[in-house]
């Protein structure tokens, strides 16, 4: 029996990798649906976007690179779908250099999907260095940092940008962010210019930003793939995030089983006593 428990803590890590892979592949092939609850912090973001009058502007600073695309892309798509459905005019910045082209591609994809026109329904301002300085200058006038958009077009020649000067002219700032820049939007943006701010962050960052909800510095938070899945549920358009969360639940279950196996093996194999 003791040998059996010894074996439990000596399972080859490759076996674990293989089982984790299978727990992702099998649910991808066999469609499964698990229940998903919407949390209040995600619902608040959704409701705030819903409450914006048709035709008003929303600023979506997107700061992430391809390495976290799996989490952030479904989130951005869900937000854009809601914005376009409500006829909101979307202004996007990308203050993180390695994400500039990725975000442009994603914006074009969603515009094609929903039949939106550049310059009329959405504008992409692109990248400028030093996020903190850019955020501060945008509070005076967007043109201070972005005299031209990503494609080199002067902002005033874009129909939807006419009359848009600074944060006062946007109904909400909703940053989809996988960088420390999230904090800049809170500290230099929201606190200085007092605009409503919501954030969508990676799951790793999630725990660090919940405290800003408590202080009221952000109105809501969409954390990682789970937040994105909740958002997809709210807009009633299930896509990659909901599919991912179904798989995620199965993988988590497997991880919990492995944690239990490891602990049972550790405590009953005699290693615990030897270590003690």
């Amino acid at each position: 029996m003791k040998k059996f428990f010894d074996r439990l803590i000596l399972i080859d890590r490759r076996v674990i990798f293989l089982l984790i892979s299978l727990s992702v592949i099998v649910p991808l092939l066999v469609k499964i649906e698990l229940p998903l609850e919407v949390t209040p912090e995600v619902r608040r973001v959704f409701e705030l976007v819903e409450s914006l009058p048709d035709g008003s502007r929303i600023l979506i600073p997107c700061e992430y690179a391809p390495d976290v695309m799996a989490e952030m892309e479904p989130m951005l798509y869900a937000i854009l779908r809601q914005c376009y459905r409500k006829n909101l005019k979307v202004i996007v910045t990308a203050l993180y250099p390695t994400g500039v082209n990725l975000i442009e591609k994603e914006l074009r994809y969603m515009a094609d999907q929903t039949g939106r026109k550049y310059g009329e329904d959405y504008t992409y301002l692109g990248y400028r260095p030093y996020p903190a300085a850019v955020i501060l200058s945008m509070g005076q006038d967007f043109r201070q940092s972005f005299a031209v958009d990503f494609y080199g077009t002067p902002l005033d020649s874009l129909p939807m940008m006419k009359g848009v000067k600074n944060y006062k002219d946007v109904g909400l700032v909703l940053t989809v962010n996988a960088t420390g820049g999230t904090e800049y939007w809170i500290i230099y943006g929201r606190e200085r210019y007092n605009f409503p701010l919501a954030i969508g962050v990676t799951a790793v960052m999630g725990a660090d930003y919940y405290n800003y909800l408590k202080t009221g510095q952000i109105v809501g938070i969409i954390p990682g793939l789970k937040g994105a899945a909740e958002y997809e549920k709210l807009i009633d358009h299930p896509e990659d995030a909901i599919r991912g969360m179904n798989i995620q639940s199965i993988v988590h279950l497997l991880i919990v089983v492995f944690v239990l196996i490891g602990n049972v093996g550790f405590f009953l194999s005699g290693q615990y006593r030897r270590k003690k």
Binding site: P97, P129, R192, V204, A207, K226
Partner: protein, 216 residues
């Protein structure tokens, strides 16, 4: 649903499999993919920074002869001064003159710390202390969690108070502090696991949908 004919997708799939191969054991394919990723990232950063920073802020104004700050030669000087200061960073490679590189580093730190310090203290540290200064009541679950936050903060800070030995009451409070910290780390780790699994799912979706076309 069919296998991709896009060369870019095939390249991405090849590199994904190279990286996955490390799960079996370290191998030249993994090493190759790792080096390519680092090289391509550095190259990409360089191009973006060149295109979005140096070109519009320095090269283009010099070429077009427009510098808004001050007209005349002083304007040119003010335009290229930051470039010169930035180039001083390369003195780091010189054994004899590497101290010169401290000038731009000091400027970066100084300029960075100036606006950050006040804003950070005011809008992060002080604002974050506010939820711990509450009127204690047990009227609802929200009030209970507010009390929990206040207790957690005090106990957590006590754990980092090293001027008195952690024994007796102080020791007990510090113990609650370390439990609070552990719960916090647990939540963070849970989120991290979720994030990493999300990335794994993303890669598998890419392989099975975009590359092999076996799922819709």
């Amino acid at each position: 649903m069919s296998i991709s004919t896009d060369i870019g997708v095939w390249v991405a799939a090849f590199f994904t499999l190279c990286i996955f191969s490390f799960l079996y054991k370290d191998n030249p394919f993994y090493k190759f993919a790792e080096h390519v990723a680092v090289g391509v990232s550095a190259g990409y950063w360089f191009v973006v920074l060149m295109k979005e920073t140096l070109q519009p802020a320095v090269f283009l104004p010099l070429k077009q002869g427009r510098w808004n700050l001050v007209p005349g030669p002083l304007g040119i000087f003010l335009l290229i001064l930051p470039v010169i200061i930035g180039l001083l960073l390369f003195f780091r490679f010189s054994k004899r003159y590497n101290y010169i590189a401290r000038i731009p580093i000091a400027l970066i730190y100084g300029i960075g710390a100036g606006p950050t310090l006040v804003q950070y203290l005011q809008n992060s540290v002080i604002r974050q202390m506010q939820p711990t200064m509450i009127k204690i009541s047990f009227a609802s679950w929200d009030s209970f969690s507010e009390v929990l936050i206040a207790v957690g903060v005090v106990c957590g800070l006590t754990y980092f108070f090293f001027s008195k030995e952690h024994r007796g009451t102080i020791g007990g409070v510090a113990k609650v502090g370390i439990w609070t910290l552990m719960i916090g780390f647990g939540a963070t780790f849970g989120f991290t696991v979720m994030a990493r699994v999300s990335l794994l799912i993303g890669r598998f979706v890419f392989l099975m949908r975009d590359w092999l076309g076996v799922i819709g």
